[in-house]
């Protein structure tokens, strides 16, 4: 029974990782194709479907961590995936004015490369039990470059969206109402920008620590 369950877990995680990896490959392919054939202004329209699907599928990862299917701690996955979901749904999807900016290109390309490497790394590990060292090196090294470009694009896009958020009043709840509550999406966005200030260096140093741990361990073996 235990053997069957662990087999089921491996099959499921392999399918999950390769499916999402394929989604991000599509994102990268369409992004590059759009850039070559037309211009950066159309990148979002080119990648929208696979981007929304692949990024939303990451919610399952938080869930996997919560039920103990994978070892990664929720405290590490939640802020990372949460901020990505916010930019995808809460900024790009909700405020179409932001979609034509060139930062969308750097954003989706940074995300896509990171995720293709990450999901294929986990995918190979689930299927074969271990991953080749070059893939592991890529998994724990590309972030050095792609984290800064990705985060800069995220912060830049939120900043650009601020003006549209303020004028549209979308997702705002105003008094009076029976719940005696109010919510201003504009201040919510400002608060999220504020979290990026300590959050980004924290996540970067967390990944640096992971890199040191994993790469030094594999050297010893």
């Amino acid at each position: 029974m235990a053997g069957f369950l662990s087999l089921l877990r491996r099959v499921y995680l392999s399918l999950y990782n390769w499916t999402v990896c394929f989604g991000w490959m599509q994102v990268l392919y369409f992004a590059v194709k759009t850039l070559k054939e037309s211009s950066y202004e159309n990148v979002y329209d080119g990648v929208e479907k696979p981007l929304l699907l692949a990024q939303t599928a990451a919610v399952l990862e938080i869930f996997h961590g919560l039920i103990g299917l994978v070892r990664s701690p929720v405290t590490a996955t939640l802020p990372q995936i949460g901020s990505r979901l916010y930019v995808t749904w809460g900024v790009l999807y909700s405020f179409p004015e932001t979609r034509t900016h060139f930062l969308v290109s750097s954003l989706v390309i940074s995300w896509a490369i990171t995720e293709i490497i990450r999901y294929s790394f986990f995918g190979v590990k689930e299927v074969f039990g271990s991953a080749p060292s070059w893939l592991q090196w890529l998994r724990y090294s590309t972030f050095l470059m792609l984290y800064p470009t990705g985060i800069t694009s995220e912060v830049g896009l939120i900043y650009i969206a601020l003006a549209y958020i303020m004028s549209s009043e979308k997702y705002c709840l105003r008094m009076p109402n029976k719940l005696n509550f109010s919510f201003d999406y504009y201040y919510g966005a400002l608060a999220i920008l504020g979290i990026y200030v300590p959050g980004s260096p924290h996540m970067y140093s967390y990944m640096l620590g992971q890199r040191k741990k994993v790469l030094s361990r594999s050297k010893k073996d």
Partner: protein, 310 residues
């Protein structure tokens, strides 16, 4: 007996160690460390026995009432203890006072002063009776807590690090402002007369019960603060282990039934969560301590904190 005191990085805190007589207690050692270092008074010190390097075991914390001999394997005349500075300490009375002072001051500011002008509401505000009663209810609650801190609660000698004062004040003060902002808002929507009267009535009943619970808890502890654990009995304690938390949570429910704000309900849920953690720990401790063996009484079957759920 020769005591060598090292820091967690392995360096010697006091050059040459300390010589104490053989009957010395851990408290004597702490006094001696204080005398030599000047800075580290006893409640700032955490003394443990050294652990084997690489071992994941938790280090044994020295109990200040015990004799040093008990920790030194009996035969040897030397002992090494590991010292950790816990930082500046304050008494629980000080901590509680500052926690509760914030909400007591902040809430009336929102009620009586024209602060909403700065949030863009220029018109004159007309207060609904429920808002005025809410202000009285709120102030009574925190006034009661401060009075209890000084005249009812018996504290053990335990202290709290200064950083907890900042953390806890952030929690109480910001939640106080958050709730006060919505209840005193110019565009506040009151509930029906019947509902707010029931809410405040129920809440007040819970506050009075809570006060009685605190008196009962006080009488469990001996005046010198060294009482140790007792089985709480009497009034609601015959049904619930932490009746003091139960009544505290339910009085917030009463306040929220009357005022109906999302902010207030969020606070109630967070507070209930925190108190539930404490209650579970206390219930477990009491059940373990009063296991019914060796002539000890057996802890009776009771709810933990939130009857009829937990």
């Amino acid at each position: 007996m020769k005591v060598s005191v090292v820091t967690r990085s392995g360096k010697e805190l006091l050059k040459g160690g300390i010589d104490l007589n053989d009957s010395a207690t851990v408290a004597d050692l702490q006094e001696a460390i204080h005398k030599k270092t000047k800075k580290f008074y006893p409640s700032r010190q955490r003394l443990t026995l050294p652990v084997q390097p690489g071992s994941k075991a938790k280090p044994t914390v020295l109990n200040s009432k015990k004799s040093l001999k008990e920790y030194s394997d009996g035969n040897s005349n030397t002992i090494t203890v590991v010292f950790k500075d816990l930082g500046t300490q304050v008494s629980y009375r000080t901590l509680f006072f500052f926690e509760y002072l914030g909400p007591l001051v902040i809430y009336p500011i929102f009620h009586y002063l024209p602060v909403y002008r700065y949030f863009g509401y220029k018109e004159e505000r007309v207060m609904h009776p429920v808002q005025t009663y809410a202000c009285y209810y709120w102030c009574f609650h925190y006034f009661k807590r401060i009075m209890e801190t000084f005249f009812v609660h018996r504290f053990s000698h335990a202290t709290s690090p200064l950083s907890n004062v900042f953390r806890n004040c952030m929690y109480y003060w910001s939640f106080g402002a958050f709730i006060a902002y919505y209840v005193n808002h110019p565009l506040y929507t009151p509930v029906s007369d019947l509902q707010w009267k029931i809410g405040f009535g129920f809440g007040l009943l819970c506050q009075l019960s809570n006060f009685y619970c605190h008196i009962l808890l006080k009488n469990l502890r001996s005046p010198d603060g060294n009482g140790g654990y007792q089985i709480p009995r009497g009034f609601l304690f015959n049904i619930v282990t932490c009746a003091n938390y139960t009544t505290e949570i339910y009085q917030w429910v009463g306040f929220n039934i009357a005022t109906q704000t999302v902010a207030g309900y969020i606070f109630a849920v967070v507070a209930a969560g925190i108190m539930t953690n404490w209650a579970l720990a206390k219930h477990r401790r009491l059940k373990k301590l009063f296991d019914g063996k060796d002539g000890k009484p057996k802890y009776p079957r009771r709810w933990v904190i939130l009857p009829p759920f937990l």
